[in-house]
C-alpha cells in the first residue's frame, strides 16, 4: 500500500507546485496590470487617505485644505469656494482631479521627488507621509473681486504683476463648488458631476483663462503696432485712414467700425489709428509687415508656445496659417484664424507695461514642505525681450489715448490706465451673432502694478450691441480699482 501512498504524496507536491506557479503568474508577472487596472481602487484609496497638502493664497488665506474624518478616506478636501475653483481645481475620488490639484498632484499627495528626503525620514520615524503645500501668487481679495465682477456673464479675468509675471487673479465664469466633487458621498459627487457636465451648464469646469481660445479682435492691434514700431514706425507715422477697403483679389470689403473715417479719411497717425481702433489701418499695416514679421513679433509675446504651464496647461495661442493676403489683412485686426487665451492677452499687456520684457507667467509663489518649510520659491524670470523699451513706452502712450477714446463706464479717478478694447466678431453671420468683448489694460500707466485681460463671451448682458468698451472695460476697471485701491 506504500507505493500508491507515495504517488499520492507526489500528486500533492504537484498540486502545490501548480499553486505556486499560478501565484507567481498572478503576483509577479501580471501584478502590474492588476495594480494599475482602473477598477482596482487600492492604489487610489491609498493616495486619498494620505494627508494632502494645502493650497494657500499669497496672503496665506486657505484655498484648499483638509479636514480629518472618521471614514476610511480619513481626510476630506475643503475648498474656499467657486471664486477660486478655476485655480485650485477639484479633487474627486471618482472623477479624478482638475486645476492645480491635477497639475501639482505629485507634490500635494507627497510622491513628488522634491519631497524625497522627507519621505525617507517619514519612513524611518514612522510618521504618516503628508503632501507638500503650495503658496500661490493669487491675491485672494482681488480674485474674489474679479469673480464678483464677472457675475451674470460668461467670461474670464486674468491679472498679472508685470514686473514678475505673478498671476494675481485668474477668474472664470460660470464656476463651480469643488467641495461637492470632493465629497466622500459618491452619490453627491455623481449628482454634482452630472450637473456640471450637463449640456446647458455652460462648461463650468472649463478654466477659460487658460483653456479658452478666442479671436482677439482689436486687442491684437497691439501686436501689429508693436511689430510696426520695431520696423521703424513711430506713433506719429501715417497709416491708412480709409473707412472701407477691399481685400486684395476679392470683392470682400473690410470696413472700420460704423464705416467711420480714420484721421482725415485718407491717412491717420498710428496713435490715432490705435486709439480709434481703425480696422483698415491695421489690416494694411499687417499686409505691409508680412506674415513673417507678424509671426515673429507674436512669438516674442508668447504665441505658439505649446509648452507653457503656469503650471496649469495653457492652450496655445496662434496666428493661424495666413495663406494669402486677404487672410493677412484679417489677421491684422485679430480675426480670421487668430486665437488667444485670456492669459496670453494679459501677458501682452504685462509685457508692454514691463518695458517690453516678457516675464514667465506663474501661479505658484512657493512650494512648501509638509512642515511649511520653503522648498522652492519662484522669483520670476524673463522669457524674452519682446520690444525695445522706447517702443514699449510709445505703445503705452498710444494705449493711454485708446483708453480716453473708450466708453468711460466705471472710470477710476486719479489713475491713468493704458488699455485696448476688442470686439471680436464670431460666426458666419457677424451681424446676427453676439460678439465676444475684450479689454486688455495695465495701470497706473506711468508705473504699472497690474496688467489685466478681460473677456466676456456672447456680448455679456447687452447682446448684439456689445463692444469691448461697453461690456468688458467696466469689469476691467473695477478689477484694477480693487487692486490699486487696496494698496
Amino acid at each position: 500500500m506504500n507505493t500508491p501512498l507515495r504517488r499520492v504524496g507526489v500528486a500533492m507536491m504537484v498540486m502545490m507546485l501548480l499553486l505556486l506557479a499560478n501565484a507567481t503568474y498572478v503576483q509577479v508577472i501580471k501584478a502590474d496590470d492588476y495594480r494599475k487596472d482602473p477598477l482596482n481602487r487600492r492604489v487610489v484609496l491609498d493616495q486619498y487617505s494620505r494627508e494632502r497638502g494645502q493650497i494657500i493664497a499669497a496672503g496665506g488665506e486657505p484655498l484648499a485644505t483638509v479636514e480629518k474624518t472618521t471614514d476610511r478616506l480619513r481626510y476630506l478636501r475643503k475648498y474656499a469656494g467657486p471664486a477660486f475653483a478655476p485655480v485650485t481645481g477639484y479633487f474627486s475620488t471618482v472623477y479624478g482631479a482638475g486645476g492645480l490639484e491635477r497639475a501639482e498632484d505629485d507634490l500635494l499627495n507627497g510622491s513628488d521627488d522634491r519631497l524625497f528626503t522627507r519621505r525617507v525620514s517619514d519612513l524611518i520615524t514612522g510618521r504618516d507621509p503628508k503632501g507638500g503645500s503650495l503658496q500661490l501668487t493669487v491675491d485672494a481679495a482681488l480674485q474674489q473681486a474679479a469673480f464678483d465682477s464677472l457675475q451674470g456673464v460668461t467670461g474670464a479675468v486674468v491679472a498679472i504683476r508685470p514686473q514678475t509675471g505673478e498671476i494675481i487673479a485668474m477668474a472664470s465664469t460660470p464656476s463651480f463648488d469643488p467641495n461637492s466633487l470632493a465629497s466622500h458621498d459618491v452619490d453627491e459627487q455623481q449628482t454634482a458631476w452630472k450637473g456640471l457636465t450637463a449640456e446647458d451648464a455652460g462648461l463650468p469646469l472649463l478654466n477659460r483663462s487658460v483653456a479658452g481660445l478666442y479671436a482677439p479682435g482689436s486687442t491684437f492691434k497691439l501686436v501689429v503696432a508693436a511689430a510696426a514700431l520695431a520696423e521703424g514706425k513711430t506713433k506719429d507715422s501715417e497709416v491708412d485712414g480709409r473707412p472701407v477697403i477691399t481685400l486684395p483679389g476679392t470683392d470682400t470689403t473690410l470696413p472700420n467700425f460704423n464705416d467711420s473715417n480714420c484721421g482725415n479719411g485718407v491717412t491717420a497717425s498710428l496713435q490715432e489709428a490705435l486709439a480709434k481702433s481703425c480696422n483698415t489701418a491695421f489690416a494694411v499695416l499687417a499686409d505691409q509687415l508680412g506674415k513673417d514679421k507678424l509671426t515673429k513679433q507674436a512669438a516674442k509675446f508668447g504665441f505658439d508656445d505649446s509648452d507653457l504651464k503656469v503650471p496649469l496647461s495653457v492652450e496655445t495661442s496662434t496666428l493661424g496659417p495666413m495663406k494669402d493676403r486677404p487672410s493677412i489683412y484679417q489677421t491684422g485686426i485679430g480675426q480670421r484664424d487668430v486665437l488667444v487665451t485670456p492669459l496670453e492677452n494679459a501677458v501682452i499687456a504685462a509685457t508692454i507695461a514691463n518695458g517690453g520684457v516678457r516675464m514667465r507667467p506663474h501661479l505658484i509663489h512657493k512650494v512648501l514642505a509638509p512642515d511649511l518649510q520653503v522648498i522652492s520659491e519662484d522669483k520670476g524670470d524673463d522669457l524674452a525681450d519682446a520690444m525695445e523699451v522706447e517702443h514699449a513706452r510709445a505703445l503705452r502712450d498710444m494705449m493711454v489715448e485708446s483708453e480716453k477714446n473708450t466708453f468711460q463706464g466705471g472710470r477710476l479717478s486719479g489713475v491713468t490706465i493704458a488699455s485696448k478694447t476688442g470686439t471680436a466678431e464670431r460666426g458666419e453671420d457677424v451681424k446676427a451673432t453676439k460678439p465676444n468683448a475684450w479689454y486688455v489694460a495695465f495701470a497706473p500707466a506711468e508705473k504699472p502694478e497690474i496688467a489685466i485681460a478681460v473677456i466676456v463671451e456672447n456680448g455679456g448682458d447687452v447682446g448684439l450691441a456689445a463692444t469691448g468698451g461697453r461690456v468688458a472695460a467696466p469689469i476691467g476697471r473695477s478689477v484694477i480699482g480693487a487692486y490699486l485701491g487696496s494698496r
Binding site: 500508491p4 507515495r6 500533492m12 502545490m16 501548480l18 501565484a23 477598477l39 481602487r41 487600492r42 491609498d46
Partner: protein, 494 residues
C-alpha cells in the same frame, strides 16, 4: 569555568518524556526519542512569528497596544501549551512537526481575522453598520477545538478502534452531510447561495465539515475490509485492469453523493473535495490506476452535466474563464482577489497595509487572498509550504504505520488537507473555478476549525502509532467461537 559536575551529562533532560539517552545508546531496541522538545521549540518559534505578525498589524493600523491584544495573545499561547501537554501525555511519539504547522496556520489565521476586523470596523462603524469582531469568537472556537482535540487523543488510544465503528460513522456522516440539504430553510438557511449550514439561533454549524472526516473513516474501514473484492480484476482494457461492474458500487455511490451536494446544497467545493478524497482512498486501497481513470471520467461527465444544467455552475465557470467580463458584478469577488494579489506583488503591502475590505468574504474563503495581498507572493508561498509540510508529515505517518487501516486513513486525511488547499487557493488565484470552501485552520469558522483539529488529532494518533516502541495492544479479536467460524480458503501469496 569549572569542570562539569560529574554525572550532569548523563542526566536525562527534564523535558524528554521518559527515555534516557544513556540507556538508549547502550541497549539497542529501547525507546526512540519522543522529539517532544523539538515540537516545543517549533511551537515557540510559531508563537514568536505570530506575535510579531500581530504587533505589525497593530502598528500598521495605528492601533494602540491594548489589553485586548494581550489577552488574545495570552489565550493563544495558553492553547498552544495545552495542546503540547496533551500530545506529551497521550501521544508522546507523535510527529513533532504537525502541531507546530497547525499552530502557525491557526495563529496566522487569528491575526488575519483580527486584521480584517479592523478593516471592517473602519468601513462599517462610521456608517452605523451592524458589525461585531470575529477574532474573539475564533479564539473561543480554537479553545473548543482544542478541547475536542484533547478528547480525541485521550479517548482514542488506538486509531484502529475507529475501524470497528466504520458503518456507524458512515451512517452518521451521511446524515450529517445531507441534513442541511433536506431540512427546511428556517433551520438550514441558504447563505451566499449554499445550503450547508444548520442554524441554531446565535450560532450555526456546517455539518459537512464533520461528515468529511466521518465518511473518510467509514470508507477507509470499508475498503480495508473489502480490499480483496476491489483488487479482483475484471476485463483488461487499454492496458488497464478494469474492475468488475458490480464492484463499481461504492464509487458510483460516492459520485452520486458528490453530485447530490452540488445539486441540493450548491456547494461545488465540498462536492469536488469529497469526490477527490474517495477516489484517492480507492486508489490507495486497491493500488489500481484504473479507479482513478474511471473516477476522473465520471467526474468529467458530472461536471459537464452540472455545467449544462445549473446556472450557478455556469456563472462560476464564466467567472473563471473571464472574470473581467463582469468585473463589477458577478466577477467582482475574484477580480478583487486578483487585484489584491497583484497589488501585493512579490513582497506584499505589509501586514495591515492592504485593503481587505475590498474583497467580500475576506475572512473565510478569501483569507488566502488577503494573505497574498499583505504578505505578498513570498507570504503566500510560505503558507503553501507550511501546508505542504503538514500534509507530507501526515503522509509520512501513514507510510510508517503498520496497519492498513491506519495507512489508508492517514493518507486520506493528509490528502484531504492538501486537496482542500488546492481547491481554495486555486480558486482564489483563478487556477480553477472559484468554489468557496474554507482554508483549513486559517479561515474564520467554528465548524471548519473543530473538524480540522479532530483531523490533526487523528493524524497525530496515527503517527504516534507509527513511531511508538510500545507493543500496541492488538485490537481484541472479535472472533466468534471457533465453532461458529467460517471455513477460510487460504490463498498462496502471489
Amino acid at each position: 569555568m569549572g569542570s562539569p559536575v560529574p554525572g550532569a551529562e548523563g542526566r536525562p533532560p527534564a523535558t524528554a518524556g521518559g527515555g534516557t539517552p544513556l540507556a538508549a545508546s547502550t541497549s539497542p531496541g529501547l525507546k526512540p526519542p519522543t522529539k517532544r522538545s523539538t515540537e516545543l521549540f517549533l511551537l515557540a518559534f510559531a508563537a514568536g512569528l505570530v506575535t510579531i505578525a500581530l504587533i505589525l498589524v497593530e502598528a500598521n493600523q495605528e492601533q494602540e497596544l491594548t489589553m485586548n491584544i494581550v489577552w488574545l495573545g495570552l489565550a493563544y499561547m495558553g492553547l498552544l501549551t495545552v495542546a503540547h501537554l496533551a500530545v506529551r501525555w497521550w501521544a508522546p511519539y507523535a510527529d513533532p512537526v504537525i502541531l507546530p504547522c497547525v499552530a502557525m496556520l491557526n495563529g496566522l489565521g487569528l491575526v488575519m481575522i483580527h486584521r480584517i476586523d479592523l478593516a471592517m470596523a473602519d468601513v462599517k462603524l462610521p456608517n452605523n453598520g451592524v458589525w461585531s469582531p470575529a477574532a474573539p469568537k475564533q479564539v473561543l472556537w480554537t479553545a473548543i477545538a482544542l478541547v475536542l482535540f484533547c478528547t480525541v487523543l485521550k479517548v482514542l488510544s488506538d486509531h484502529r478502534t475507529l475501524a470497528r465503528y466504520g458503518y456507524t460513522f458512515g451512517f452518521v456522516g451521511l446524515i450529517a452531510l445531507v441534513l442541511p440539504g433536506v431540512l427546511p430553510s428556517f433551520i438550514a438557511p441558504e447563505i451566499n447561495g449554499a445550503k450547508i449550514w444548520l442554524s441554531f439561533g446565535a450560532f450555526s454549524i456546517q455539518p459537512g465539515e464533520f461528515a468529511k472526516i466521518l465518511l473518510m473513516v467509514y470508507f477507509a474501514a470499508f475498503l480495508v475490509s473489502k480490499r480483496e473484492l476491489f483488487t479482483t480484476a475484471g476485463r483488461r482494457f487499454l492496458g488497464l485492469d478494469l474492475p468488475r461492474a458490480r464492484d463499481l458500487g461504492p464509487l458510483i455511490g460516492a459520485w452520486l453523493i458528490g453530485v447530490g451536494i452540488m445539486v441540493f446544497q450548491k456547494d461545488l467545493g465540498s462536492s469536488l473535495l469529497f469526490f477527490g478524497i474517495v477516489l484517492v482512498l480507492l486508489y490507495v486501497a486497491t493500488e489500481r490506476a484504473a479507479w482513478v481513470v474511471i473516477g476522473v471520467v465520471l467526474f468529467c461527465v458530472g461536471a459537464v452535466i452540472a455545467w449544462k444544467m445549473f446556472g450557478h455552475v455556469q456563472i462560476r465557470v464564466a467567472n473563471w474563464l473571464d472574470p473581467f467580463a463582469d468585473a463589477t458584478n458577478k466577477g467582482y469577488q475574484i477580480v478583487q482577489s486578483l487585484f489584491g494579489l497583484g497589488t501585493g506583488g512579490l513582497f506584499g503591502a505589509g501586514l495591515g497595509g492592504g485593503r481587505p475590505d475590498q474583497i467580500p468574504e475576506a475572512n473565510t474563503d478569501f483569507i488566502t487572498a488577503v494573505i497574498g495581498e499583505e504578505l505578498g507572493f513570498v507570504g503566500l508561498a510560505a503558507v503553501l509550504l507550511i501546508y505542504t509540510v503538514f500534509a507530507m508529515r501526515g503522509m509520512r505517518g501513514a507510510l510508517a504505520v503498520r496497519d492498513t487501516f491506519g495507512k489508508l486513513l492517514g493518507g486520506g486525511l493528509a490528502f484531504a488537507v492538501a486537496f482542500q488547499i488546492f481547491i481554495v487557493i486555486g480558486g482564489v488565484t483563478k487556477l480553477i473555478p472559484m468554489t468557496g470552501i474554507t482554508a483549513p485552520f486559517l479561515s474564520y469558522g467554528g465548524s471548519s476549525l473543530l473538524a480540522n483539529y479532530i483531523l490533526v488529532a487523528l493524524l497525530l494518533r496515527i503517527s504516534d502509532a507509527a513511531r511508538s516502541p510500545k507493543a500496541t495492544p492488538k485490537p481484541r479479536p472479535q472472533q466468534p467461537a471457533i465453532a461458529d467460524q467460517f471455513t477460510v480458503m487460504v490463498e498462496r501469496p502471489k
